[in-house]
Amino acid sequence: MPGPLLEIRAARRSFTTPEGRDFAALDGIDLRVEDGEFVTLLGPSGCGKTTLLRAIAGFEQIDDGVIRLDGADIGPLPPHRRPVNTVFQSYALFPHMSVARNVGYALEVRGVARKSREAAVTEALAKVGLAQFGARRPAQLSGGQRQRVALARAIVAQPRLLLLDEPLSALDRNLRQQMQIELKDLQNRLGIAFVFVTHDQEEALTMSDRIVVMRAGRIEQAGPPREIFRAPKSRFVAEFIGETNLLPAVVRATVGGMAELSLEGGQVLHARADSLRPGAKVVAVLRPTDLAPAEQGLAGIVRRVIYLGADLHLRVEPEGGGGEIGVILRDAGRVPAQGERIVLGYDPARVHVMEAGA
């Protein structure tokens, strides 16, 4: 079996702060990207996403560790000798060149003959839906169009790997959602592996084959979107990916793959979980969308009702106390009133349990 397309091992990169302290922007990163895979780096601002991308592209040297592409160590190669292209957050289109020349630049500098260059440019522009725009200057394009030109420019030379640093963050919400879909389609058609940086969890969930959640220069958790969403390994990941309820609890008993948890307020929560030790302190992760009024479940008082069109958000105070629980009801039949008693049902299989302190 062939190895991964990209393999990063124990990559470290430190910067010296103005105060003279050493600060690790990358603190031991291990990452593999398979051929044709769409991997998203997700994390809060300053966690090292851009630094990691720049290290792969060659703009940043790592102090320690290895970066292999197709099995070959690319650490010593300068950016122009790496078969990797980048879509920059600011697009970085050359303002003094036409759109067509921008797109053909990678071929131009490789000495590709004019004829085949023009054919490739036309094809790349068509792929991003800008066939008519070759003669324009970047300044004469809208933000979304510039974004597409940057994309066309980065794929024209058919790199093995495309790096995208928050390419959609400058676009407005509608265009952004449209571009998410287009980008994913394009990636499927091209079969090029993408490493995509974002700090928008929704974007990550929509587009990725695999999400890599980063925190302070380390990888906190990596896995398919469902796994990251359903089974976060830590409080950090759970909170970063979407709204969530984190309920501290103690394991009372485990019977046949089902655990009985006792919440702080004394109520009982059932979860499908193996290998839990009775008496262990845990945190139950319950997504607000996984709760709905039912005959049985967690009882509480509705403290707040927020109407958001398609969704109805409730804040429920559990009986016996212990933090508020957020509930999101899609198409609620009857709108519960404030101060009303409510029983929230849930599917024990959707209750994720993680160790306290994680």
Partner: protein, 293 residues
Amino acid sequence: MTHRQRVQLFLLLTPVTVFLGVFFLIPLGTIAVYSLLTPGLYGGVEWSFYHWNYGRIFGWADGITEVFEPVYLHILLRSLGLAAATVAICLVLCYPVAFWVAGLAPRWRMLFLFLITLPFFASLIVRLYAWLLLLKPSGLLNTVLMGLGVITEPLDILYTPVAVILGMVYIFLPFMFLPLFASIDTLDRSLIEASGDLGARPVQTLLKVVLPMTVPGIVAGGVIVFIPAVGNFIVPDVLGGAKGLMTGNLIEQQFLSSRNWPFGSALAMVIMALVLGVLLVFSNRARRAGGRT
């Protein structure tokens, strides 16, 4: 425009207009008129039309009243050449340095910009005489080189075109550096990274991205150096010796020692026309280069 606004505009523009008129147009007009008048016998002018001033330069002298001397055209062209060489050398020296300074941390860059302007604090003449002392056969340069055994005979640089170019470059370096720096400093560095990322070797990035994008700085620096360099007479005077006569010296001579003001004016007009011509061609080229796809 309301009446009030018109009055305001008039009041605002008047000082500028007066200033330009007094300090720019009137002297220029005087020179233009003088260049077409008859030289007085003992200096000054006689108020009668006289085109031989230009004839002496361009060759329609009758050989009696005035004699055509090709040396004047020669000197004019040499001045243009010297100015062009000064621009070229300043550019080549300043460009990489400006690039390097633009990448420095802010406080180092401030220090460097201060150092660049430091020579302005000393008199030009004094600085040129310092070069004289450095370059003369028993000067520092020759002493050091001979002491190191690099040369056995002192180099005869002083009073050669090399010395003049050296002095010119020295004087005009800051004028080239500052506009270049301004334009390189505002260059978006991510464009350089993008170029490398797309596979361009550093030389390609320089030629295809960096140079075209800093054309405004190059043009500004070139013009700012070229114009005063053409007319400069101090450097050839101090470092050029008798053979190194330039237009500036020629004009200076006509006005001072020869006391032939009309001919001096004619020379000044011709050099001005030449400079304007060169600038027009140059800026046209630059505009076209900038507008190319």
